[in-house]
Amino acid sequence: MLASILSLGGIGLFAAVTLGFAAKKFAVEVDPREMAALEVLPGANCGACGFPGCAGYAKALVAGTIDLNQCPPGGADVVTKLAHILGVEASATARQIAVVLCQGDNRKAQLKYRYLGLEDCTAAQRIADGPKTCPGGCLGLGSCQRICPFDAIEMTADGLAVISRENCTGCRKCVAVCPRDVIHMTPYESGVHVLCNSHDKGAVVRKYCQVGCIGCNICKKTVPDSYKIENFLAEVIYEQDTEAGEAIAKCPTKCIMDFNVGYPDGSSYLPAVADKPHAA
């Protein structure tokens, strides 16, 4: 009995001594807070915070060179946890989600040429600015759908990208990959959007798209403080968009849509049943 205790104790002691010595020799100091922060972060390594993955963001957080709300997928609860770990006061940010500002799928919008090649928007864009006549329209080749880490984007049968408001975490990867910058970040609460991204004059837009914004100002006249027109393209002012819905019926090309009522046709997403409260 004594022999077993002594022998195991001896091996243990010997091991402890060598490890103690080795620990000093190979010491690499790692801030425990960095590990804790890394645990809390979603780990999607999406790069929305501007760092190559969550580890980079955790390191910067501990070094204090970046504030806490730079991780959109994490959302508010990650911010509060990080604040707790780092012992810093947290400023929560409003949730942002991505929206494809276009309805011009291959049936509604005109194609400049028959594109044969890679199923990829960036690749198609390199050939004479993409197969779609409209300079800002969604090419519908699915680059955003493939890159979305949260499976929040679908392609309709006629080649239009649609983003689900519920699944989108706002990590901005689709915004970065879209060669036509047709995906914009918008506040989660506002469901009404002008679905067009073309600054051409009305007459030109009518020629290549049935649902494009022709810059006719009717929406601005109907709800003056919810819309603004910048060289022939209407845009919702998201801070005061409570009555923006009134202009939907008046828009001659049915270009404005409320995502709380329905998604563009051909999409399989359904609007959330409960009506989301609008921003105060």
Binding site: S4, S7, L8, G10, I11, L19, A22, A23, F26, V28
Partner: protein, 193 residues
């Protein structure tokens, strides 16, 4: 000498630790995403196995048997292996942080890796002399590394194939591992294992 060579070859091919004896499957599946990581893991396991065999052999024949406490074999072996893994972990973290990051949790997990403990126990059961034990350990480790690297090569190739959605990731890895061990069955019976 021929005897040692036979042990080596049988440990690498015929009774491969992973593909024939099915020991050490969790790192086999966990660390085989990239060939570099697999090689790193292979080296780490080779070091731990070889040194562990040496130490456990001494512990068995100079501590456990003289004091008649063979029943403590498992605890003692685990203690030795654990401290060795701790040492390897420190060295790798210092020498190559990238490898340390990519191995992640699987580096400390070598402690509970059944291949390592299995090797130490098998050494004793087969009554190998000290030299045979070490050769067997090197063979086992090389066999483990061979299987791991082959499997990592296959999985890197699967990155490029159009694996259906429901099979992506571990599912296709398990199917491929099955077929790989099927291929290794060819070596069965080649040497009296």
């Amino acid at each position: 000498m021929a005897e040692l060579l036979l042990i080596l070859v049988s440990a690498i091919f015929v009774n491969n630790f992973v593909l024939a004896r099915f020991l050490g499957i969790c790192p086999f599946l966990g660390v085989s995403k990239k060939v570099e990581t697999a090689l790193g893991m292979g080296m780490a396991v080779t070091f731990v196995m070889t040194v562990a065999t040496v130490v456990t052999w001494f512990v068995q024949y100079f501590v456990l048997i003289p004091f008649g406490i063979e029943y403590l074999q498992t605890i003692a072996f685990i203690l030795v292996i654990a401290s060795l893994v701790q040492l390897v972990e420190m060295v790798i973290q210092k020498v190559s942080p990238v490898l340390y990051q990519s191995l992640g949790i699987f580096l400390p997990l070598i402690t509970t890796n059944c291949a390592v403990l299995g090797l130490a126990v098998l050494n004793i059961q087969k009554d190998y002399t000290f030299l045979e034990g070490v050769v067997f350990a090197i063979g086992a480790a090389l066999g483990f590394t061979l299987a791991l690297v082959l499997f990592a090569g296959l999985r890197e190739r699967l990155e490029l194939s159009a694996v259906p959605q429901s099979f992506r990731g571990t599912a296709i890895a398990l199917v491929t591992a099955g077929l790989l061990s099927l291929a290794f069955m060819g070596f069965a019976g080649m040497v009296k294992g």
